[in-house]
C-alpha cells in the first residue's frame, strides 16, 4: 500500500469506499537547517516533499500546523513558519525541548522525516481584509506570525490590507528569530516593525522594555483593526489589558494555543480546552472565544 492510498473496507454492505488514512505521514527531505538564535536552542528546517504529488496537494493557510515525525522517536506538532507564497519548501522553527525536538535538532540536509498536515484552523485571513493588522510576538512564539506577515506582504494583495504593525520582543538581541526578515521588513514602507529586548545590550539601538510597555508606547489604533498575539502566557496576560486600554475588543484579538497533542485530528482526546479541541477547533482562537472556555491551557 502506498503512502496516501485510501483503503477499501472489505466486503460489508456498508462499505465506505476509499477511506483516507490521516495517520500516515508524507515523506519530506530536509533541504536547509539554520540556527535562529545565538544560544542554538532554536533551529529552522526547510522541508521539501519527496513525492511530487504530495507537493502538489499540500496547501495551507498561515496559522495551521503539521505533525512532524522522526521515525523511531515519535511525532510532535509544529506551527508552519513559512508562507504559502514561499514555494518549494515548508519551514518549521523548532525549539529543542523534548525527545522528538532533540532528535530533530540532529537532522542534516538530505535526511528524510515524516509530515502530516496541514492541520487545524488558521488565522482569520478573510476577516483581516480591509483592516489594519497588529502582530505582537514574544520570543520563540513568532513562527506562525512570520508565516502570516510574509503572506500578507508577498501574497500579491498587499493593498487588500491596511496598516501592518509588528511588535516583537525577546530577552536579548540574540534571541530574536528571523533576523533577515526583520531587517528586510524594517526597510519597507508598507510595514512598521518594532523590535524590543528586555534589558539594554551593547550596540542595540531599537526598543528596550517588555512587550506590553512597547505596545502601550506604540499605541496601535484599534479602529478597524485585528490583532494577533503569540508569546509566552505571561506576556499575553500582561499585554491583554494594554490592548483593552487601547480600545481593542476581545473579538478583535486572536492568539494560538499549544496543548499537548498526539493525533492532531480530534480523536485522541487530550488537547481539549473545555469542549473545544486545540487540534481541530484551533489552534487559533479569539480572546472572546477563549473567554467562553475554561482556562485549561
Amino acid at each position: 500500500m502506498s503512502l496516501h492510498e485510501g483503503v477499501t473496507s472489505g466486503t460489508s454492505e456498508r462499505t465506505y469506499g476509499r477511506l483516507t488514512n490521516p495517520y500516515v505521514p508524507m515523506s519530506v527531505v530536509v533541504r536547509r537547517v539554520a540556527d535562529e538564535v545565538d544560544d542554538r536552542t532554536i533551529k529552522s528546517f526547510d522541508l521539501a516533499f519527496v513525492r511530487p504529488e504530495d507537493a502538489a496537494h499540500f496547501g495551507f493557510t498561515p496559522g495551521q500546523f503539521c505533525e512532524l515525525s522522526v521515525f523511531g522517536e515519535g511525532e510532535a506538532p509544529f506551527g508552519i513558519a513559512s508562507s504559502p507564497t514561499e514555494q518549494g519548501f515548508v519551514r518549521f522553527t523548532i525549539k529543542k525541548a523534548g525527545v522528538v525536538t532533540s532528535r530533530l535538532h540532529t537532522l542534516k540536509e538530505g535526511d528524510v522525516i515524516g509530515l502530516r498536515g496541514p492541520l487545524g484552523n488558521a488565522f482569520p485571513i478573510d476577516h483581516m481584509r480591509g483592516k489594519d493588522l497588529v502582530v505582537i510576538g514574544g520570543g520563540f512564539a513568532f513562527t506562525t506570525l512570520r508565516s502570516l506577515i510574509v503572506y500578507l506582504l508577498e501574497g500579491g494583495e498587499r493593498d487588500a490590507y491596511g496598516k501592518i504593525t509588528v511588535i516583537y520582543g525577546a530577552r536579548t538581541p540574540g534571541l530574536l528569530m528571523y533576523k533577515d526578515d526583520l531587517v528586510a521588513w524594517e526597510a519597507r514602507a508598507d510595514i512598521e516593525v518594532w523590535q524590543t529586548i528586555d534589558i539594554e545590550a551593547p550596540g542595540w539601538t531599537r526598543k528596550v522594555g517588555f512587550v506590553p510597555a512597547v505596545v502601550e508606547e506604540v499605541a496601535p489604533s484599534a479602529a478597524n483593526a485585528v490583532a494577533v498575539i503569540c508569546g509566552p502566557p505571561v506576556m499575553i496576560r500582561f499585554t491583554l489589558p494594554t490592548m483593552i486600554k487601547l480600545g481593542f475588543g476581545k473579538e478583535q484579538i486572536y492568539t494560538s494555543l499549544e496543548n499537548r497533542m498526539k493525533c492532531g485530528i480530534g480523536k485522541c482526546g487530550r488537547c481539549n480546552v473545555g469542549h473545544k479541541y486545540v487540534c481541530v477547533d484551533g489552534p487559533v482562537f479569539s480572546m472572546a472565544e477563549l473567554d467562553e472556555l475554561p482556562a485549561e491551557y
Binding site: M1, E13, Y16, P22, K267, V280
Partner: protein, 344 residues
C-alpha cells in the same frame, strides 16, 4: 427460538465464515475473546471484567511501519486495514452503546479513523439481553436498559432453556441464513422470556436519570467539588481502561530490528503525562483537574459535541476501582450543586 441444545451448532455455523468473539474464560478472567471452540462460549454471565472495546479498538495496535535509515527514502507503510468479517456474540446493551459512541467520535467528523471504521463496518453485533443486572448497573439512568436492543444487529433474549432470536438491523439479515428452520417459540417459552425480563428490570437499582446533568456541570469548572471527589483517587487509570466509553489514546514509536512501528495504545486522562507539555507545564496539574476532565468529558463535552454521553452505565469503573470511587455518587454530588449559586 434457539434451544440450548443447538447453541453449539449455531456458534459453529457462525465460525464458518466469521471471526467470532464471545465471553470466554481466559487466564482466570471472563472476557470477550476469539472463540476457538463453540463449547467455550459462556452463555450465562452477568458481564465481563473488561468491555469488548478491545475487538474494535485494541489496547495496542500498529498504525504504520517504517524503515530504519534516516538518510534515505523512508517508505512508510500503513498497516493493512482489518476487514475480516467478525461477530461479537453475547454483547450486552451497555457495551453496544459504547460502540455507538465510538461511531460518532472515531467514525465521524472532519477526519475518520480508518482502522476503527473498517473493523466496525465488518463486524456484526449479536447482542444479548441482560437478564441479571448487577447492583452497580445503571444503564437505565441513560434511557437505555437491560432489554434495549438499540444498535444490535441480531438480538437474543433468554427464554427458559434457550433464546428468542430477532434480526434487528438491515445488516443483521446477513445472519438470516444461520437462523432458517429454527422453530417458533411456543406460548410457554414466550411466557418464560417475559418473566425473565420482568425479573431483570426488578433488579435494577434506583437512580436518577442522567439527562440534564450537562447543564449543571457547565457551571462547575471552578468548583471545589473536584478536589473533594478526587481526594482518595490514586490515579491508577483502571476506571478508564475498563470503560466501554473511553477511547482516548497515545501514539508512540517502537524501534524494532530493521525498522520500527508507530503504535496506538489506550491512554488515560487520569495520568499526569496525558497533558504534560515539553516545557514542564501541565494545564491539568493535579488529580482534581483530571477527575474534572473525566467527568466533564463524559457528561458535558461529549453530549455537547456528539450528542451522546461518554458513560453507558455498565458499572465496571465502580466494581474495579481499588479505592471504591463511585461515579454514581459523583453524579449525585454534582446534582447537589444544582442551584447552589455557582454560575456558569
Amino acid at each position: 427460538m434457539l434451544d440450548a441444545a443447538r447453541l453449539g451448532e449455531f456458534v459453529t455455523a457462525l465460525m464458518g465464515d466469521h471471526r467470532v468473539f464471545a465471553p470466554v474464560r481466559r487466564e482466570g478472567e471472563l472476557r470477550f475473546d476469539r472463540v476457538s471452540d463453540p463449547e467455550e462460549v459462556v452463555w450465562s454471565y452477568r458481564n465481563t471484567t473488561r468491555p469488548p472495546k478491545t475487538v474494535m479498538l485494541p489496547q495496542t495496535e500498529c498504525l504504520i511501519r517504517f524503515g530504519q535509515r534516516l538518510d534515505r527514502l523512508n517508505e512508510v507503510q500503513a498497516t493493512p486495514m482489518d476487514d475480516t468479517p467478525t461477530i461479537i456474540l453475547g454483547i450486552r446493551p451497555c457495551d453496544v452503546h459504547g460502540f455507538l459512541l465510538f461511531d460518532r467520535v472515531l467514525g465521524q467528523g472532519k477526519y475518520v479513523d480508518p482502522y476503527y471504521l473498517t473493523r466496525r463496518n465488518n463486524t456484526l453485533l449479536v447482542g444479548m439481553a441482560c437478564d441479571r443486572p448487577r447492583p452497580t448497573c445503571f444503564c437505565h439512568a441513560f434511557g437505555s436498559g437491560p432489554y434495549d436492543s438499540e444498535g444490535t444487529d441480531v438480538w437474543l433474549r433468554k427464554a427458559g432453556n434457550g433464546y428468542l432470536v430477532e434480526v434487528i438491523s438491515e445488516r443483521g439479515r446477513a445472519l438470516d441464513v444461520y437462523l432458517q428452520g429454527l422453530p417458533e417459540p411456543d406460548a410457554e417459552q414466550l411466557g418464560l422470556a417475559e418473566e425473565t425480563e420482568r425479573a431483570a428490570v426488578e433488579r435494577l437499582s434506583a437512580i436518577e436519570p442522567v439527562e440534564g446533568i450537562e447543564t449543571v456541570l457547565a457551571g462547575l469548572f471552578d468548583s471545589p467539588l473536584w478536589a473533594e471527589i478526587s481526594e482518595k483517587c490514586i490515579g491508577c487509570g483502571t476506571c478508564t481502561y475498563n470503560c466501554p466509553g473511553c477511547y482516548c489514546f497515545n501514539i508512540e514509536d517502537r524501534v524494532l530490528a530493521g525498522g520500527g512501528e508507530r503504535v496506538r495504545s489506550w491512554d488515560s486522562c487520569m495520568y499526569p503525562g496525558f497533558t504534560l507539555q515539553a516545557s514542564g507545564y501541565n494545564p491539568r496539574p493535579d488529580q482534581a483537574a483530571r477527575w474534572r476532565q473525566r467527568t466533564m468529558h463524559k457528561f458535558e463535552y461529549l453530549p455537547r459535541n456528539v450528542g451522546l454521553y461518554g458513560c453507558v452505565g455498565c458499572g465496571r469503573c465502580i466494581q474495579t476501582c481499588p479505592v471504591r470511587l463511585d461515579i454514581r455518587q459523583v453524579l449525585r454530588r454534582v446534582r447537589q450543586e444544582e442551584g447552589s449559586g455557582v454560575e456558569a
